[in-house]
Assembly symmetry: C2
Homo-oligomer: 167 residues x 2
DNA sequence: AGCCGGCCTGACCTTAACGTGAACGTGAAC
DNA sequence: GTTCACGTTCACGTTAAGGTCAGGCCGGCT
């Protein structure tokens, strides 16, 4: 990649530091297979490929992978749902490019408005899930209260539930 | 609320009205196969079997099924995790029996204390999940804020994003 | 007694989400 | 230039969570 010293002219590059799949796996705690699988089902495309077709990931790919894992493990979404949440990878690629050479402000505005919509949808879905969870917690607490009520009732009529010990 | 078929003590039996699997399926919106599968993996045992080996479910079974579905669909737990949450079915059966002939108050107290512990564990797990979800929502809102910040920045330097129309 | 739909078990089929090689190319080191 | 760990694709295996018959009993009605 760099041995060909040419190109990437312009005012000094911030050295993107692309990672190969094994490093990504180490950093995210996922297996390489899993990362490739996510690509296979369209969840993320590596930022680039090396000369010899190695996958090369950048920081945004790492973030995306973490996000996918959170959505799966914490929020419990299926990969299909996650795919919908993240919208299609093609659009992301287009946007990535569009932003990179964000020639004018209008284009940037379009991209940002799009991103805003997506994030808003994500938040809505997450909040819906959180609401359902909250109501489950409410129910559980109601059950707990009833149980504790019964216990109190017992304690009132009985002297001791014989739990500590009586020599 | 689901595992205590208590009350109904003494005077006149309220005719338990047991349901066959198809009725349960209709009421819960699940398939019969699914209900049998949950039994197969130890999530719930029907309250009884008929003379000819038909599964017969009572109200507490219905509640438990609903609870299982909530845990799966809303909270996103796997059936294995749900199994752990609900503790083993054998214990439940023992408790059901223990309670039915709740001879003395001390026994009732033991049962209730056990139930209390279980519900407390359930609540803890649900709240942990809710917390993770909440932090994901926070992150998403942070992203949203950043995007909106960029948009505001654009609006400030640019006259119009050309969205309304200019004749 | 016969009917017929519901129920039973058992067996195989399916899909999602990976795991586990096989066979072969890469690339930085020695 | 050979080595050897790492990478690639392709293919088949596996587990969870059911779906879908098949063949054979119930059971309520006539």
């Amino acid at each position: 990649m760099w041995y060909d010293g040419r190109q990437m002219s312009l005012p000094e590059n911030p050295r993107p530091r692309l990672l190969r799949i094994n490093e990504v796996a180490a950093e995210t705690g996922m297996t390489t297979r899993r990362i490739r699988y996510y690509e296979e089902v369209g969840l993320l495309e590596p930022a680039a490929r090396s000369d010899g077709d190695y996958r090369l990931y950048d920081a945004s790919d790492l973030d995306r992978l973490q996000f996918i894992r959170d959505l799966r493990d914490d929020a419990g979404f299926s990969l299909a749902q996650i795919g919908q949440l993240l919208e299609d990878e093609a659009a992301r690629e287009r946007n990535r490019e569009r932003l990179r050479q964000a020639t004018n402000a209008a284009e940037r505005g379009l991209y940002l408005a799009d991103a805003q919509q997506r994030v808003e949808r994500q938040i809505a879905l997450l909040e819906a899930k959180a609401a359902r969870l909250a109501s489950m917690i409410d129910e559980a607490q109601a059950r707990l209260a009833r149980i504790q009520g019964h216990l109190a009732e017992l304690d009132a009529t009985e002297p001791m539930p014989a739990a500590v010990d009586t020599p």
